[in-house]
Assembly symmetry: C2
Homo-oligomer: 664 residues x 2
């Protein structure tokens, strides 16, 4: 590297060494196009279509919407072996989980099996994740149950309830697919990680509490999901507790937890944990069959209908008086399911280093739910537990979903009678074991250490769900997430910069304890884009910094303040209110006898300053490329001015004029 | 200035010249205190109380809430003279305007006078603006009218309607005072300037359309406020139009507009415009009295009750079935009134260079509306037109409000019979003339040239009000404002930096056409704080920049990419999702065989990176204070590595190792 590169550092204030450039104006439609592209197509999905022949474009288009045509041609036997093992493993988890979660949604248990048959097939065609295993999830099931039960009693009117569940699933699918097609996937990003942790943990707690009914073998139970109602309901009927049921439940829970612990310690033994639910179901069923425990207070599943999914497309009645309930349930559960599915897909893609297109995934989820709603399925997504097992079992492609679907199909066709004696308490144990994994207290501790506000958000969502209801928790979570964003925007950081010793670098004096203030010059940095929501605050804050600095100087008897340098490096964007605010700050400073100097305004800022005639107002010569140059110029003038004052003893001429007279 | 300051510029990569500092940890409660202070007390209102004796603190406290005790002691005769002139001037405007706006709210005209008597007195005690003139405003009156008329017919049940108006005013006051006391004034900032311009313009258009009833002397009129209903209503009864009324209206409108034009051209003649409404009222009344036009289709005000405001505190019934309507109306009109009042107060304070504490103003507005609701007043605030007249008339303090109140009091006590013959059409003309000033088309053009999205927001609010209703327009305006903020946050700018020739400065290549890319190194700048809402986007965008750069290099056959430098200067804040995202980017880059280098992480970023163990993951030695130093180090290693490769022909040793072996 030549030393010529450092030439500029010699202070040369006769002519400004580096001018702040105004980016060339862009035609309106080009800049509109860019904005639309960045907003809706940040991942540039059309990139691969560029410079291709029409036929190839068609092929790519089909492959885009049906990734199976992309990877199927490269599929081989070794992939198939892995996928079959993974598929059978997840099927063994899917069957008991499906039955359990269907009960959570107050739906017939068989729906859990139906939902593990058709949707995985659709996803295998359209999904872009290699590791996602499709199925129903506890939280969405619970939400479906609580929202639909509020208007229709599942026991009094089971058919209507069932149809509403299909309709909710249909609308969830429509919503998901539309979000994907309209490329609005980023809406899901507004659910922050902290709120999801809190919400999921709360929902898991609620689901566990609901299982007390099954574990204790209670016949009557509260309809509320909050901890107060549930515990009151449980402890008001202690005489109804069945020890047989409780004993069985605790034993199986212990077995499941031990199995999971072993698998966690030795990832190679993942199958112990994966097979544990099915083993529990088999053991439990055999035990009940042998001891006739169903006659001694242990409730069993009973008859499951044999046969594949009945077609239910005719049951979607859009003239129903409960249409709005179905739509509401669909929207809420659809978004929750989407958030979980996308997050799971992305996490595993990150592990294996491939890309997931969120919007494309949404279309896949949407189509699989629309198809599901027509074939006796309720809401499905990519559950974390099942996908993790799939990943650990070594799946290679979405073929593992197809294998799972075939295994479920065989079960539906031939094996349903085997579940007659399956005790409900085992299903409760399976749910509890799965849910305990969702209460991510470690992450909550991590949030506490990293960011207190995130922790508060997380806890609010948690307690909202546990003490209120799932819906209340969700509303709190979303509101807090939005409030968080708005607070971030409304109260950006501002800091005073000082000079790093032996350099021309200026940095925040809070962060760099060795940075030194420059006498007579206050250097302020605004650490965020300036919008209407924070421009008032920034104006107030700048005034306050100046007030404080003047007070400090007065107390210490130093020279008074002459220049205020605004470092705009971090102001990546600005709107009309921001430009107005800068103009006001300029006037405010002028009235206080201070000179406003700008350093490093970005492209967006200088462009709008130019259009708003602010460059002339502030003066081209008071806008510098770096803080160093701005301070250098101010310092130069401060010293020249002082020298001049000493020589002629006239203090009234302004620094500017003196400067031009003393061009040494 | 010594040259020693530029020493650092000599590249010296054996030891890192400038270390990125981690700000010293702050105790939890201190940092919480700081956050609370910045969020709720950004203007540091307690500053003046510091280091004062207890007695002095009490005095300051009283003066804080009742600024009158602060300025009254400095009040003198010359102030008084100016204030009397200003006060009488605004009273002459307040009386006809008050009567007109009360009719807009479907309230008895006398309420307009009542509302110009008590509230100004309260404001004079508690308000901190010297220029604000208190009174009712058109938009809030219209909103009150339309929201209350939807549930109670003002003609069928005038008493209930009146009580609801007082209750709405009471709740508006409670809301305003609470916002002030809870220091939540910044909520008003979320109504962007663009939406306010659009909303106000739309409301003014609607108000003007409503005046067609008065101008044309129609008896029946639509209840809708949208342009379609109004025009249909007007043109479906062309046979009912009264030419006498229309002629009178057009003449007075012409007179008012000419008066305003003259005043605008010559600010010294402000009184011509200020007196014009009262002159019109007098002229109109005399004309009607002489010609008995009230018997020829010109409607007149009729009898106004003599006497001061009746006490109405007993009429506030909180058990009413319409309580929710009153609360809703109070909230909506309260916020709108607040936004206008605060904006007006701030603008004039800016002119005269004094400070307005938004939260304190809100308390003053709130108290004046609570007091008003107990004394037969409906919602008041600081209208722009009246305050501008007050300012131009040379008011010095809030005494001008007291003078206006006394003038109105005299009118109420003795002069009300004089308004018997005042034709309604004159009031319509006064409203139209005032409203034309609110349609700020110049600002809309300015928005178009400055920021297209702001223009779209403005127009949406305008058309929402004009074609929908005031409420629809308001909802659109608020929703768009929020969407704007969220979009700003969700899609921050990222840009590629290049080297400014003959310097160590790196700037955006979009803005600086002469900046040059550095071979083998991609320098990316993230132009906004990183939050959960944009971390996913930023990750995608970084990948895409790398993709595009690699494609470009492949096409041009240049050396492949080795380093990705992330310039974090503009990342003023980061949350847990952001930290996770940085970790993911690091892994992504690693898998692509690229080295991630960070430049200038701010205090917040480096602190959280430290807590999140990200510094170790990325490597302390890959974090630099400036982009220049980061690029310098990368360049040094690229060249050393190349030399090394040429000398020994082993390309597999990593740059890092080579570097440490070649410490020249």
């Amino acid at each position: 590297m030549g030393t010529g590169e450092y030439e500029y550092e010699k202070p040369n204030y006769e002519k400004q060494p580096h001018k702040v450039a105004i980016p060339p104006p862009q035609p309106f439609f080009k800049s509109l196009g860019n904005t639309v592209k960045e907003t809706f197509f940040p991942d540039d999905p059309l990139r691969q279509f560029k410079n291709q022949k029409p036929v190839r474009k068609c092929v790519l288009g089909v492959q885009y919407f049906f990734p199976i045509f992309d990877w199927a041609i490269r599929y081989n036997l070794s992939f198939f072996k892995s996928d079959v093992i993974a598929g059978i493993t997840i099927a063994s988890l899917a069957i008991p989980q499906g039955i359990s979660y269907a009960k959570l949604a107050n739906l017939p248990p068989i729906l859990g099996l139906y939902s593990s048959f058709i949707p995985p097939l659709v996803y295998a065609m359209m999904g872009s994740s290699k590791d996602l295993a499709v199925g129903t999830v506890a939280v969405a099931s619970l939400l479906t149950g609580s929202m639909l039960s509020a208007v229709v009693d599942p026991k009094e009117n089971p058919t209507l309830y069932l149809h509403l569940a299909f309709m909710a699933c249909f609308f969830a699918g429509v919503l998901q697919a539309s979000l994907g097609i309209l490329r609005l996937g980023f809406i899901v990003d507004f659910l922050s990680h902290a709120t999801i942790v809190g919400f999921m943990g709360g929902a898991a707690t609620v689901v566990i509490l609901q299982q007390l009914k099954g574990i204790l073998g209670l016949q009557h139970f509260t309809h509320g999901t909050d901890i107060v109602s549930v515990l009151r309901s449980v402890f008001s009927q202690t005489h109804q507790w069945r020890w047989e049921s409780a004993l069985l439940g605790v034993c199986f829970l212990f077995y499941l937890l031990v199995a999971r612990y072993v698998s966690q310690k030795r990832p190679k033994l993942f199958w112990i944990s994966a097979m544990a639910p099915l083993t529990s179901v088999i053991l439990g069923s055999v035990l009940v069959y042998l001891t006739h425990a169903e006659k001694h207070g242990v409730q069993v599943i009973g008859e499951l209908k044999k046969g594949l999914n009945p077609i239910t497309i005719m049951d979607l009645s859009f003239g129903s008086q409960y249409l709005s309930t179905a739509i509401k349930t669909g929207i809420v559960t659809g978004v929750i399911a989407l958030a979980e599915g996308i997050a799971v897909g992305r996490s595993f893609a990150m592990f294996k280093n491939y890309n997931i297109d969120g919007n494309k995934e949404m279309i896949a989820f949407g189509m699989m739910n629309i198809a599901g709603s027509c074939t006796s399925c309720y809401l499905t997504t990519g559950p974390f537990s099942r996908s993790a097992v799939n990943f650990n079992a070594g799946c290679k492609t979405a073929v593992s979903n197809i294998v799972m679907a075939i295994a479920v199909m065989i079960t539906l066709l031939f094996l349903t009678p085997l579940f007659y004696y399956t005790p409900l308490v085992v299903l409760s144990s399976i749910i509890i074991a799965a849910m305990l994994g969702l209460i991510n207290y470690e992450e909550a501790i991590h949030l506490w250490s990293l960011d207190k506000f995130d922790f508060v958000v997380c806890m609010s969502a948690y307690f909202g769900v546990v003490f209120g209801s799932v819906e209340i928790g969700l509303v709190i979570a979303v509101a807090l997430s939005l409030l968080r964003v708005l607070l971030f925007v409304a109260r950006p950081k501002t800091s005073v910069l000082g000079q790093i010793p032996d350099s021309m670098i200026y940095r925040s004096m809070d962060q760099y304890q060795n940075a030194k203030a420059v006498p007579g010059i206050l250097i302020l940095q605004i650490d965020a884009p300036i919008y209407f929501a924070n421009s008032g605050y920034i104006r107030e804050r700048i005034s306050r910094w100046v007030d404080e600095e003047e007070d400090r100087l007065k107390c210490s008897g130093e020279n008074s303040l002459q220049y205020v340098v605004l470092a705009l490096s971090a102001v990546g964007n600005i709107d009309t209110s921001g430009i107005t605010m800068l103009g006001e700050v300029k006037k405010l400073m002028e009235r206080r006898g201070l000179k406003l100097v700008l350093a490093n305004p970005g492209g967006e800022v200088i462009k709008k300053m130019n259009k708003g005639k602010l460059i002339e107002a502030i003066g081209q010569e008071w806008i510098y490329l770096t803080v160093g140059e701005a301070v250098g110029a101010c310092n130069f003038m401060l010293h020249t001015y002082k020298k001049d004052e000493n020589a002629t003893s006239t203090g009234s001429s302004s620094g500017k004029e003196t400067w031009s007279d003393n061009n040494v």
